[in-house]
Amino acid sequence: MIEISRETIEIAQSGDEEAYAEIVEAFQVPVYNLCYRMLFNEGEAEEAAQETFWKAWSNFQAYDSNRSFSTWILSIAAHYCIDQKRKKRVPEIEIDETMEEIIPEKTPLPEHEMIRSEEDARLKKLLHELNELDRAALILRYWQDMSDREIAESLNLSESAVKSRLFRARRQMAELWGKGV
């Protein structure tokens, strides 16, 4: 997991824009990846990631330096994406349509790109059915290697709630995997 020096965070917290830009540079990938895996849309993920950094910048005084910065920023991103999904009810593209869009007939993609797109579509199918919070918990566990406690902190849940959400999410994923998704 990426960690940035406490000094840089303190400088940024005092209002230094360059120090904050360093933080944005360091955390853009985990934040964007989380947003993309939550929303499955590049444009929406970009907007959500930018919004996450803006929210963090605007509320930097509220950040407790005893907490891990990555947990804090990913928590903002996860909550923002969950809110977006709930508020806007982002129109989900049908899975079958996704494949057609990803692999257009007229312009065939190189083989490795095709494999990656297929994997991406498969991943979407797997995560698609999960409840937003379950999905966020799963992403934080398997992409960000967060512990139950860190996930609980990020999602404002109890540790036992995180455990049961992960339990349910794994069962759902296993069922879908078994059906050949």
Binding site: N33, Q50, M173
Partner: protein, 181 residues
């Protein structure tokens, strides 16, 4: 709880087991196809998730963030100005109305003050005359305050429109930038 259920929970908890528990699970897996399928599906789907590509934002994310931040801060300042203007307009409106009520309505404060002042001293200029004098200018004063009020409203509206159009410009530029990349 039956061994079957215990084993299912162990599989879905996806944590390391004690050697004794591991032995019990392995023995159960030999005779229970349901659990062995579940274990395989959980392991494979989790592995698929862990090995999935980490999505990265388009190049220039930090620059786009800086641009967005500058525009958001400009918008914030403009909104602050609009709030101040609306506040002033409101306060002036209330003051001008209070002024009109105080001086031009019958049996009001000035009227009472007038009587008191007449009793107090005959040397003091009669408030009655002053009232008549002010009464003569009632309509022009009211007109001036209304014009002033309307002009301030128009100014505030123009500022609001300019803030909205600058926001639209920003979004358009961001889209162009994003499409170019």
């Amino acid at each position: 709880m039956s061994t079957h259920q215990i084993c299912q929970n162990w599989i879905l908890d996806h944590t390391e087991l004690q050697p004794e528990d591991e032995r019990i699970l392995n023995e159960h897996l030999i005779e229970c196809t349901e659990c062995s399928t579940l274990r395989r599906n959980v392991a494979q789907s989790v592995l698929f998730l862990q090995n999935a590509e980490v999505k990265k934002p388009a190049a220039g994310f930090t620059e786009r963030w800086k641009l967005m931040k500058a525009q958001r801060e400009a918008e914030k300042q403009q909104l602050f100005k609009i709030r101040v203007i609306f506040g002033l307009v409101g306060a002036l409106g209330i003051l001008s109305m209070a002024f009109c009520f105080l001086f031009f309505l019958p049996s009001n404060f000035s009227h009472n003050m007038l009587k008191l002042s007449q009793l107090a001293s005959s040397a003091v200029i009669s408030f009655g005359k002053l009232k008549m004098l002010l009464n003569a200018f009632k309509l022009p004063l009211l007109g001036i305050s209304l014009v002033f009020f309307t002009l301030l409203l128009i100014y505030a509206f123009a500022l609001l429109m300019s803030a909205l159009s600058s926001r639209q410009d920003r979004l358009r530029k961001e889209n162009v930038l994003y499409e170019e990349e």
